[in-house]
Amino acid sequence: MAELLVWPALIAYGEAAFAYAGVMRGADRLGRLGIWGVRIGWLAQTGLLVAQALSSDGFAWRTWAGALNFLAWLVVSGYLVWGCRPRYRLVGLAVMPVAVGLLALAWAGGGTGVSESDPGGWILAAHAVLILAAFASFTIGAGAALLYLLEERRLKRRDAGLLRLRLPSLEALDRMAARITLVGLALLSLVVVAGLTQLDRGDVDATMTVTVVVLALYGLVLVVRREVGLRGRRFALGLLLGFTLVAIVLPITHFAS
C-alpha cells in the first residue's frame, strides 16, 4: 500500500511545477499553491521513503530507479530550505520540473516500490547518500543559475512586469548558486576520496572517470570565481555546463559500465 504514496507526491510536485509556471504568466496567487504542493508532495514522498527504508534489510535505494527516487527527495528537501521564503519561492520554477521528471523516471524504473532489497554494507549506503546529496546540490545550484539567467534576461529586456513578479536579486541568486554548489562539491569530494581508498588498481570505470571530471569542472568554476572574480552570467553558464554533464553523461556512462 505504501508504494501508492508515489502518486500524491507526483501529483503534488506536478501541481507545484504548473503553479510556478502560472506565476510566471502573471497569476501571482498561484505561488502559495505551488509551495503547498511542494510541502504536501514532500511529506508523501518522505512517507514513501520511510516505508521503503523500514521494509528493506539494507540500503533501500541501490537500483538506479531507487536512487532517482531518493535524489528527487533530496532536491525537493534542499529547495524547501529556501523555497519557504516568498522571494525565493520561484527557484521552484527551475527545480520542481526536475523533481517531477526524476520521480516519474524512478516510478517507471520500479524505484518507488516497497519490497525487500539485497542487503548492502553501510559503506555503500553512505557512498550512495553522499553522492546523491551532491547531485541534489548541483541540481538546486543549476536551478538558481537558470533563474539568474532568466532574471538577467528580464532586466536586459527591460521587462515592465519586473517588479510585479519579483525574483531574488541577481546577486542573491549568484551567491545562492555558488554556496549550494560548494556544498555539492564538498560532498562529491568526500565520495571520491572515500572511493579512492577502497579502489583496487585497474578498477577505474567510465562512471568514476566522469565523476572525477565533474568534480574537477565544478572545482575549476569555483576556483576561478574566487581567484578571478568569475560572477554573474558566465558563472551561471559554467554551473549549467557542469549540471548538463551530470544529467546527461553520468547516466550514459552508468548504464554503459
Partner: protein
C-alpha cells in the same frame, strides 16, 4: 453610541476646494478638542486632514443632529466657499463611516492604491484628536485593518513613482543597497529625488558630475559626495553600482565607445544605468556589455504603470480584509446594546451574594481567615458559573436581530432596574 463623518476628498472635490479646508495637525487637534467640548454632551472628535482629504469624525451617545454638527463644522472650515463645498462633501454614519475610515487607513481610498503615508496620517490624527470609547475603538481597528492590508497583501510593495521604481530596480540587481555607490550625472531636481530614494535604502552617493562643477559641488555637499566635471565620469562610473543621469545635454553624455574600456575591469559586476533625461544621456548600447543594465524614462514609466496595475489587483484582496474588519467592528458595536444589561445582571448577582453572606455572618464567626476566603471564593465562583452562559448568549444575540429582545427579556426576568424604582 452614534458615529458620524463629514468630509471631502480628491474623488469629488478639486484641489482648489480641498486646499480651503486643509489644516495642519496642530489645527486639526484644536478643532477636534473644540468640537468635543462644545456642548459638554460627551462628544468625541477626530479630524483627519491630508492633501487628498479633510474628514471630521464625531461620536456621541445620542444621535440628535450629530451628522449636521459634523457637516456644519466642515463647512465652517471652508468659509466663503461653503456653498461650493456642500455638494461635493460626503456624510456617512455608523458602520458606513467606519468602513470608509478602514478603507482610508488601508490606502484603498487614496489616489495611488496602497500608498504608504496615509496610515501614519490616520495614526497622527487619532493621537492628536479627542477620541472617547467609540472613536478610540474605531480608529484602533482602522489602524489594525490598514496594517493587515499592507502585511497580508502586496498592495504597498510596488513603486508608484519613477524615483521609487529606479530604487526598486536597483534592489532587483543588488542584494540590498547598503553602501552601494551611486553616481549622479546632472545636478537637477530629478537626479536629486532619485538619489534621495536610493539613499533612504542605504546606498551612498559617491560622485555628482555636472557640466558646471559649482552646481555639482553644491548638490554633492548636501549628499555627502564629491562634485566632479563631466570629463571625469568614466573613472567614477567604473567604480559605481548605480548611475543616475538627468542632464539637459542635447546628446549622449555616456557612450558605449567611451565606457567599454573603463568597464572591462569590472568582470561582469552588475551596473545599473538609470537615464531620466530627455533627450537621453546614456547610450542604450551600453546594455550590451556584460552586467550592464540600462533603463530610460519610458522603461521606468512602464514599470510604474505595471506596478500600479499590480496594486489594483492586490486591492481586491485588501478590500476583503477591510470588509472582514468592518464586520468585526459592527459586531463589537452591536454588542454595546447588551453591555449595560450584562453589567446590571452581574451587579445584581453580586449584591445578592454579598447580602446572603452578610445574613449568615453570625454563623460564620468561628471560621478562620482561610476558611472565610474559601467561602468567598466558592460563592463568587458559583455566581460566575451561573452567569457565564447567559452572558455569552447575550453577546451572541447582540450581533443578530434578536439583541434588543434578549436584553429586554433578561431585564424583565431578573427585574433589573426595578430595585432603583
Amino acid at each position: 453610541m452614534k458615529l458620524a463623518l463629514a468630509g471631502v476628498s480628491h474623488h469629488q472635490a478639486p484641489l482648489a476646494l480641498r486646499e480651503r479646508v486643509a489644516i495642519d495637525l496642530h489645527a486639526a487637534a484644536s478643532l477636534a478638542r473644540r468640537l468635543a467640548s462644545a456642548d459638554g454632551d460627551g462628544c468625541e472628535a477626530v479630524v483627519l486632514s491630508t492633501c487628498n482629504r479633510t474628514e471630521l469624525y464625531l461620536a456621541r451617545p445620542a444621535d440628535d443632529g450629530l451628522t449636521d454638527r459634523a457637516d456644519r463644522a466642515l463647512l465652517e472650515l471652508a468659509g466663503a466657499d461653503a456653498a461650493s463645498l456642500a455638494p461635493v462633501a460626503y456624510r456617512l454614519t455608523d458602520e458606513s463611516a467606519a468602513l470608509h475610515l478602514f478603507r482610508v487607513a488601508a490606502g484603498l481610498d487614496s489616489m495611488i492604491p496602497g500608498e504608504g503615508e496615509i496610515l501614519g496620517q490616520v495614526r497622527d490624527a487619532f493621537t492628536a484628536g479627542a477620541p472617547g470609547p467609540l472613536l478610540d475603538r474605531t480608529f484602533r481597528m482602522a489602524l489594525h485593518a490598514g496594517r493587515r492590508a499592507r502585511v497580508e497583501t502586496a498592495i504597498g510593495e510596488s513603486p508608484s513613482s519613477v524615483p521609487a521604481a529606479a530604487a526598486a530596480l536597483a534592489e532587483q540587481v543588488f542584494e540590498g543597497l547598503a553602501d552601494r555607490k551611486v553616481v549622479l550625472v546632472g545636478a537637477g531636481r530629478t537626479s536629486e529625488l532619485t538619489a534621495r530614494n536610493l539613499l533612504s535604502r542605504g546606498a551612498v552617493v559617491s560622485v555628482v558630475a555636472n557640466r558646471s562643477v559649482e552646481r555639482a559641488e553644491r548638490l554633492a555637499s548636501t549628499l555627502g559626495a564629491r562634485g566632479v566635471p563631466l570629463d571625469q565620469l568614466p573613472d567614477a562610473v567604473a567604480e559605481a553600482d548605480v548611475v543616475v543621469s538627468s542632464t539637459s545635454a542635447p546628446g549622449l553624455v555616456l557612450t558605449h565607445a567611451e565606457l567599454s574600456a573603463a568597464l572591462r575591469g569590472r568582470r561582469g559586476r552588475p551596473l545599473l544605468f538609470v537615464d531620466l533625461a530627455v533627450p537621453r544621456d546614456i547610450d542604450p548600447a551600453l546594455a550590451e556589455l556584460d552586467g550592464c543594465f540600462v533603463y530610460d524614462i519610458d522603461d521606468l514609466e512602464a514599470v510604474v504603470a505595471s506596478s500600479l496595475a499590480g496594486r489594483r489587483s492586490e486591492a481586491v484582496e485588501a478590500e476583503r480584509i477591510v470588509s472582514a474588519e468592518a464586520e468585526r467592528f459592527a459586531s463589537w458595536r452591536a454588542s454595546l446594546v447588551v453591555v449595560p444589561v450584562i453589567t446590571s445582571l452581574r451587579a445584581r448577582a453580586e449584591v445578592i451574594r454579598s447580602a446572603e453572606l452578610a445574613r449568615v455572618e453570625s454563623r460564620l464567626e468561628n471560621l478562620s481567615e482561610g476558611e472565610r476566603a474559601a467561602v468567598e471564593a466558592l460563592t463568587t465562583q458559583i455566581v460566575n458559573k451561573l452567569l457565564h452562559l447567559p452572558t455569552v448568549r447575550l453577546k451572541e444575540a447582540a450581533v443578530t436581530a434578536h439583541g434588543l429582545h434578549y436584553a429586554d427579556v433578561v431585564r424583565d426576568l431578573f427585574g433589573l432596574g426595578e430595585e432603583d424604582e
